[in-house]
Amino acid sequence: LRRALSAAAIWLVLAALLAAAALLSPGFLDPAYLVNIVRQAAPIGIAAVGVTFVMILGGVDLSVGAIISFAAVLCAVQMEGRAENVALALATTLAASAAIGLANGLLIAFNRISPFILTLGTALAVYGLTQVYSGGTARGVVAPGFREVFNLRLGGLVPVLALAFVAAAILAEATLRTTRYGRSLYLVGSNRAAATLAGLPIVRLTVATYALSGLLAGLGGIALLARSGVSSTFAGRGLEFDALAAVVLGGTTFEGGRGNVAGTVAGVLVLFVAFNMVNMLGLNYNSQLIVKGLIIIAASAAYTWLNREAD
């Protein structure tokens, strides 16, 4: 029971936030509104799934925010507003995003350097590249139909984008729980020495996981483009910390070897329910920043407290 309570801590925080939101406005619990929150959370949520994998392995990926921006711009430019370009644009974007992740993975696996700093460096370089590529302004035109497909509400309720997020999360959780690859991540993250002795291919696992994180951040960028329709070069700025906050709120630790995607999903939802509550209170963006900060601290405190009670 105690373990169950610990695992459920972030969900309890989410439930408490939702209850508070419902008190503020009964409309908050309207299913249409709730699935819309999931839709808003999709870009960061998808990227956060990749960060979860990297952190279970004992690393960290701060380049995801930059890759989200880069992917959104690249995809929009490649589409040039023509429907027949969509497939190629998506393929190019995902390949380029995965390539950035691959470069992260190769550098980290073969050089044993701090992933925190390395991926910060990658982030700077990729932000710069995005700016150079776009000339510093919004560039590229979204193809007709592209946004409509992603924002279509299946059964008049669930947007495709929200569904894509949930599907990605379920697939990722299943991978972590049932595949050899998923189990290996936990072993390497919790005890690298033992994993080496057991003959796990640590280099290959590291490279693959960072590449996957890059790929998922690319998907996040495409999701952002689909959600907003604008390929602003700074669209992803700071999102790496939102993703990181969500992952850590969800119970994945910096030390590695612990965590899961379900917790991350709850963490992302806590952040976005909080953002929406602030909006609902009618506060402007500046005071939203203050409330966002306080909620991150309070949610993290509540989560830590619940976890400690459970121990």
């Binding site: 701090s114 700093i117 370089a125 150079v132 910390f241 920043l289």
Partner: protein, 316 residues
């Protein structure tokens, strides 16, 4: 300790990077060589130098402080708005900025201790709170810095930039604390292994509080320097400094995991970043390309500076 050349180079990696970079810039770029420009590099690096020294303490203690950039920014706005160019206000606003820095640092420390929050999440939340506070106060530049602060940030004594001397003084003081004081030992012990530290009687709560307060003070001081440099309370003056500070600390050889590090390495890394930025400006490279270059330099520098693990040793 090994005196074999590769090991020596690895241990002093950032100093070699700085030396090589500096020599290359001296040789290749005539404008770089002027005394005026060299003093400029030091002056421009000063705020980051102060912030990075503070961050070194925090990271040695196994913590991290993402709130320092916005904290410095809030100090900039506070100093300029209150003083508004009036010299009579110089001392009060300087004290107030340091009080603000130390106070926010204390809040970070108390919250980290009482609520047992992850420092990254906690200070990220604080970053957001401080950024919001600045923008609620003002979304445009307000006030003016008094002349004394302009002198502190841009002035010279005997040809040496005052701000650089200030950074050296702060760094020497911090170095002395780390090497020779009880607090320095305790900080490293906390960063090395919290559980062991507590068992041998290190007051971990108080040490953590001290680390955050010192970090906050460094942010207040950096804010005073930035205010003097800019001359006005620019609300986004502090944005991004936290990342530059962390980059400098880690490039300087301080382990992100905590437990060991050096102020000297941090300052060398600050100068590396300063020289690179100065050279790119002299070469009139666009800000976008500069960003790419900075990212690549961070990657190259950390590759050059990687700790050499012995054969058969398991990397951390």
């Amino acid at each position: 300790m090994s005196w074999r050349l590769p090991a020596l180079i690895a241990r002093t990696g950032i100093y070699w990077v700085l030396l090589f970079l500096f020599a290359a810039a001296l040789a290749a770029i005539p404008e770089f060589r002027t005394a005026e420009n060299l003093a400029n590099v030091l002056t421009q690096s000063a705020p980051l130098g102060v912030l990075a020294v503070g961050q070194t303490l925090v990271i040695i203690a196994g913590l991290i402080d993402l709130s320092v950039g916005q904290l410095a920014g809030l100090a900039v706005v506070l100093v300029c708005a209150l003083a508004d160019g009036n010299s009579a206000w110089t001392l009060p606003v300087v004290l107030l900025a340091l009080l603000l820095g130390g106070g926010v640092g204390a809040v970070n420390g108390v919250l980290a201790n009482r609520l047992r929050l992850n420092p990254l999440i906690l200070t990220f939340g604080m970053l957001s709170v401080l950024q919001g506070t600045i923008f609620v106060w003002t979304d445009r530049s307000i006030g003016r810095a008094p002349a004394e602060l302009a002198w502190l940030a841009n002035g010279r004594v005997y040809g040496m930039p005052v701000a650089a001397l200030l950074v050296v003084a702060v760094a020497l003081g911090t170095h002395a604390v780390l090497r020779y004081s009880r607090l320095g030992l305790d900080l490293a012990a906390l960063g090395g292994n919290e559980e062991s530290a507590r068992r041998v009687g290190v007051p971990t709560g108080r040490v953590r509080l001290a680390a955050f307060v010192l970090s906050g003070l460094s942010a207040g001081l950096a804010g005073i320097l930035i205010a003097g440099r800019l001359g006005t309370g620019y609300p986004i003056a502090g944005a991004g400094y936290e990342l530059d500070a962390i980059v400098a600390v880690v490039l300087g050889g301080t382990a992100l995991a905590g437990g060991r590090g050096s102020v000297g390495g941090t300052l060398a890394a600050v100068l590396v970043l300063g020289v690179v930025s100065n050279v790119l400006n002299l070469l009139q490279i666009s800000a976008f390309v500069q960003m790419v270059a900075k990212g690549l330099i961070v990657i190259l520098a950390i590759l050059a500076n990687q700790p050499h693990t012995q054969k058969g040793m398991v990397p951390a």
